[in-house]
Symmetry: none
Subunit: 214 residues, 4 copies
DNA sequence: AATGAATGAGGCTTCATTCAT
DNA sequence: AATGAATGAAGCCTCATTCAT
């Protein structure tokens, strides 16, 4: 009944997403600098010129990739945190596992490594990522830590530093899988890595009388 | 007899080191790809041609930087481990602090970030770094963990994964200081960061009855 | 009977003129080469494709602009010359002032500069303009000069050269207003410029005993 | 005895001038925009990259052309004016003829047309040319006119406008030879054109009782 | 041992023109 | 009659590497 849009029209609507998907793949594989826009276009089945119909330049393309793929997950986590009832540690687990599912297990997992790699040479991108992603993500972590400290569930720790130390292994896992270990299929096994990390955290963060929790 | 070399001779011998120092600075600041050999030469007070007298190409220059600066520290840590007497945790601390002193507080601190950033695009470099640096460094960590587990000081953990989780925040600290936080003078404060990390580790790794240790 | 065309019909007929008007504006502002057809279409409220319905290509569009705007003024001046009675100098004044009014005070004033700027790179356009505009305009000037010389009103001068020297400041006025002086609203004041020019001409061309004329 | 520099050295010293000469030719032939730097290099017997050893970019190359070729002539005319003794009209003639000889009869004669053609699209170049060339050249003309008016040799005229009208045919002569007339070898004959212009000027500018002069 | 001039492949971006709808 | 998505050739500029001196 509702005959699908004409092929032509379908194509048009799909193009930006096809380009974004191709861009994500290549940015993750090669990094920002080394990704050639022609390759992005070709992988999306388009020509160089077509890409410029949808994105003003390389930088805009990259920002769009972030905007489409990373920021919605941050927003999701904000909702999770807002609606959470239960222990602070459980909240941290949920935030970490949701992030892992939506970012860590997808091609987006390569973005943090990319940012780390190119931030110094592309301050504009670094600024964008810092404001739109890092600040919002850290705010969530801070929230969870404060919640746990106030409720007496966690020991008292320095917020910023503890957050750094908690986040580091997670980011590092992403980074390793996309750099020295040569592709997400190699490197440490994520699920045991995360379990180990959370276990160490449980022992490290929780007060002694809660030692029995995992 | 032991008369110092003539100034001329001194100069000549110094050239490669001047070039290596300049290369280190620029590699760390810009990354491998974005570092221009002309800038390296200029910073060393030499000409582009001269650089090619001492190093076959960009890759050889980079490998020489690693060879001169990183590998000796690994060797030092191997000696520390071999000669260590005392608790396993104390050994881990010594290894970590020596690494921090010799790498973390020098320009070499930028190398891990660089490797992480460019490994995928320069497999030859990645291979070199993996074999000469990563494998040897991990062997040391494995050693310390095994030692602690055998002696009953540490809980039983999966060696590789635990090592990953232990190393991650240290590497991450280096990485952050050289990327998103825009220079080693920014980012988390290293000493409290490391202290926090070791503290969490102490709680996470040590068996319960040792909980009183720091 | 003479019912006005339907709005639809009106619109349709207006399209080419809207496109020509937009093209004139942009050609004058940017020059031929630097004018983007997409901008022309957009300014006319149409799409790029539509433009190609009415004009085979950029060149055809440009020729149409000339055909619509410049050539009719030449034709007008031919009528003025044919019907003129009075002094030769008065004829020259009328031709110059009519040109000034119809071309110099409109967006068409930018065309001579454009032609001068691009003639070498677009010989086809140069040829067109030379035949359709320059030759016909010069013929009029020649006519007026001959008329004045035959009647004894003007000194004897070399026709072609005198014509060049007479025309030059007028064209130059147009050119300046569209180039270095950055827009028709700047540059020399046209009316005093033209008056000065005609005054110098009067003194230069007229025989001594007519010195009292302006 | 003084053996010539080595061919290599010779080459090196000559390169910038060879490039400037090639650039002048092509800028004059094609205009600024349409000149391809690769063509400039090729014409100078060099490669694209070599050009960038000497000039930072297209703009710098163009400015260097002006700096080398036009500005010295302005300076020369400033000296002529400063040292002139004789009639104001004679000074104007000397300035015009020197300009004609050094600019009008060389490839530099194409520069004014280029500037007129591209000023709007390259404001940076326009600014440069206006300040370094136009203002200085006009100052000279103003000087000569004032001198003649003060001495009673010239009628009283509005300085700026008169200057415009006097300069226009000269610039126009250059322009025509480089645009519609398709090359400096065509167009009006310069010497009779200039003579005619000066003659009209003499009649137009000089007071009546000097009418006998040429 | 040292220089630095020269090269040319490679990447981002623009825009006239085409054509399926 | 109108659209606007798509193409791809072309131009500016960078930089690792070579080599004559």
């Amino acid at each position: 009944m509702d005959s699908p849009a004409t092929p032509r029209k379908r194509r048009k609507d799909a193009r930006p997403n096809e380009l974004l998907a191709a861009a994500l793949d290549l940015f993750v594989e090669k990094g920002y600098s080394a990704t050639r826009l022609e390759d992005v276009a070709t992988r999306a089945g388009a020509s160089k010129g077509t890409l410029y119909l949808y994105f003003a330049n390389k930088e805009a393309l990259f920002k769009a990739v972030i905007e489409e793929g990373i920021i919605p997950v941050i927003a999701e986590n904000e909702t999770i945190a807002a609606e959470h009832t239960g222990s602070a540690f459980a909240l941290m687990e949920r935030l970490i596992y949701n992030w892992w599912e939506k970012i860590g297990q997808t091609a987006y997992s390569g973005i943090p490594k990319l940012m780390v790699a190119e931030a110094r040479n592309f301050p504009e991108l670094a600024q964008f990522y810092y404001e739109k992603v890092i600040l919002r993500a850290r705010a969530l972590g801070t929230q969870a830590l404060q919640y746990g400290m106030r409720s007496g569930e966690f020991r008292t720790v320095d917020l910023d530093t503890a957050l750094d130390v908690i986040i580091a292994p997670i980011i590092m896992l992403l980074i390793l899988r996309h750099s020295l270990y040569g592709g997400p299929e190699h490197g440490p096994d994520p699920s045991s890595y995360l379990k180990t990390h959370l276990q160490l955290l449980a022992h490290g963060l929780l007060k002694l009388d809660k030692e029995t929790q995992v």
